[in-house]
Symmetry: C2
Subunit: 241 residues, 2 copies
């Protein structure tokens, strides 16, 4: 079955308190079974997860890491950090409170509401996705899955890909354990991170500057009940802490 | 613009020497500008990159790593390995000769031609992609980009996603350096691994057992001249060697 990735275009600049689901539903032809991928940046803005750097007093650790970067921004990053994974000043790879490992603990100055502000990840991206899903059911009458996505770098590979940091109505991992291939070989180690592939696919139409903060994916059956926390490698299986 | 991901269905079991481009062209509605994503497994099979484990004599290192795994399979993995990154017997995370970091140096027993055989990565996946591209131009008269994809695990995250290990007629990285967002902030650190997102998107229709070894992606402009080697993090920038 052909899968379609439909950009949600014409969404205006999102501000704190905006009804993001309404801004999307007015512009997206949602149907039952669709997956809506929404960029973290607009979710965080609607939730007011924005910090004005003028209000931030950097501590000593932030100052020492900052190098030629802004120590106030590093301070915000450290406040969002549960565990520092690697530092190459001013780059910080951190584990967030949610368990995600990413650059700057997800703190980002690009596409921020105005110069001098930075945007944080949502407090609870699964809950953000669930609220959007409930509101879209109300507004559009459609039962959709929702993914909140962000652009993460990867170990060993250049460039970012979008991955899922929050999901609702989605089974993020497709587990083929026990399934057999055509020669009868059991695919015992194959678990596919479908939610991450959906997030990356949506990025193909969202871009970074085009003002397309969401996309509808039609034709993929990824529906179920799950949490993006399932995408986090448990510490005892993580060879790269 | 809506992006479509079209599965290439009904491809028979691929054997050494098969004209893979012909098997695909007969079943895929290719148009100029399409991206064809082909699973590494069928590319390797067509190229005869298959080892019969009965012919393999494991060395001491393989025997010590194997634990309850098959030491002959570990021996094949070590022969494909340029550098061992992590070992948790019988799991080996290795850098291949191409520079890719992945489980088992890409050696895989699933979907192998028959029990007791394993499939290796192509010798030169960019060259494999280029040959397919040239042959598809001949057969279908269409100028397409080609990506050879494989399922890789990731540090810190559960599950595999498909990524690009070979490309032809594709610019694998989209570099937004110097591009400004809507507030004028320069996106100085944003490079998107488009080829990996395309490979992951194709996986959504390819699956692991469904006999769909390729997909056509229409509506994405990723065309250019590049190599999948560009997706490898240079050692001096790699914080996770």
């Amino acid at each position: 079955m052909t899968v379609s990735i439909i950009p949600v275009e014409g969404v205006p600049e999102v501000r704190e308190g905006d009804d993001l689901a309404a801004l999307i539903a007015e512009r997206a032809p949602l149907e039952d079974g669709d997956v809506l991928v929404v960029a973290q940046k607009v979710v965080s803005k609607a939730e007011g997860r924005v910090v004005n750097l003028a209000d931030v007093e950097p501590g000593e650790e932030a100052a020492s890491i900052a190098a030629d970067g802004d120590p106030r921004q590093i301070e915000v990053i450290l406040r969002e950090t549960a565990r520092i994974v690697r530092v190459r000043p001013p780059l910080v790879i951190a584990e967030t409170r949610h368990g995600f490992v990413c650059a700057s603990a997800g703190v980002d100055a690009s596409n921020a509401p105005e110069p001098g502000t930075v945007v944080l990840l949502p407090e609870d991206p699964d809950a953000s996705a669930a609220r959007l899903r409930d509101r879209l059911r109300e507004l559009a009458g459609a039962e959709v899955g929702v993914i909140v996505s962000d652009s993460f770098g990867r170990a060993w590979r250049q460039g970012t890909t979008d991955v899922a940091i929050g999901v609702a109505g989605i089974e993020p991992l497709l587990d083929l354990k026990g399934v057999r291939d055509s020669t009868g070989y059991e695919l015992h180690a194959t678990v596919i991170a479908v939610a991450d592939e959906l997030a990356g696919a949506a990025e193909l139409v969202m871009g970074k500057t085009a003002g397309v903060p969401a996309a509808v994916i039609r034709g993929v059956d990824a529906h179920g009940e799950g949490s993006a926390r399932e995408l986090v490698m448990p510490p005892d299986r993580d060879l790269f802490r």
